[in-house]
């Protein structure tokens, strides 16, 4: 995974800086190149939050400690990726909309709600006892996920103002190179899986440590 991340990450940046067009929505600006990682990060954030949902459901069903480790690890990563999505999106928005933030844009506002929901998830998780409180965190992980598909579908559910519907929309006007985007998606996915593996490993060792010390941290 580490080498896959390095390989596709390098390839992605080579394509972003050496091949992709700087002109999007009729505006020629280097800041448009932020779009590739902004979109890929939004994808891995959704994948990570989806993993939290699946891990939480499986934990509530089977009670295995592995599922709660998976859910929490993915939740932490999802929050990190969502933060970076907002940061890069804001910088890109300054280029194409001449604004850092638009409260009238339904996708931006719903994505910010997702961000707050998962900040809350991490707070609930850190405030509860890992031996007994995982159930509360899991319920939160299941209920909170509702916001993710709503944010994704927001441009179809409500009238989009700035973000446009991209998938399945033949009139999409962003000039995004599909090869560069695909390679960046692969790089971001490799990175996500690699970081998820390490985070789960940290949880496992911490659990063993807690078992040996009788719950003391």
């Amino acid at each position: 995974m580490k080498w896959g991340t390095l390989l596709f990450g390098t390839l992605s940046f080579a394509l972003v800086f050496g091949y992709a067009s700087k002109t999007m929505y009729g505006i020629e600006h280097g800041g448009n190149l932020l779009a590739y990682w902004h979109i890929a990060l939004a994808w891995v954030a959704s994948a990570a939050l989806g993993t939290t949902f699946v891990g939480s459901v499986l934990f509530l069903r089977y009670r295995g400690r592995f599922w709660s480790r998976l859910a929490h690890s993915a939740g932490e990563l999802g929050f990190l990726f969502a933060t970076l999505t907002l940061l890069l999106g804001s910088a890109w928005g300054k280029v194409i909309w001449n604004s850092w933030w638009e409260w009238t844009d339904v996708r931006l506002v719903t994505f910010l709600i997702v961000w707050f929901i998962y900040a809350g998830y991490l707070v609930v998780s850190s405030a509860t006892d890992p031996n007994t409180g995982d159930r509360y965190t899991a319920v939160y992980g299941v209920v909170g996920f509702v916001t993710v598909p709503i944010s994704y579908a927001s441009t179809r559910l409500w009238t989009p103002t700035f973000h446009e519907t991209t998938i399945g929309n033949p009139e999409v006007s962003a000039n995004i190179d599909p090869t560069t985007l695909l390679v960046t998606f692969v790089a971001a996915t490799f990175l996500y899986v690699y970081l998820l593996g390490v985070r789960i490993q940290v949880h496992e060792v911490e659990d063993r440590l807690r078992g040996l010390t009788g719950g003391r941290r």
Binding site: L33, L34, L84, A91, L195
Partner: protein, 38 residues
């Protein structure tokens, strides 16, 4: 390079490499503690 582009990708690198380094250090620390206890 445009300042916005530099800001965006610098933030991305710092956050991702910082988080990966934090995880690796944390893993090393808890593994050492586990071995010490054993």
């Amino acid at each position: 390079m445009e300042p916005l582009l530099l800001f965006g990708y610098t933030a991305l690198f710092v956050a991702l490499f910082g988080y990966a380094a934090y995880l690796q250090r944390k893993l090393g620390r808890v593994e050492r503690r586990l071995n010490d206890l054993r």
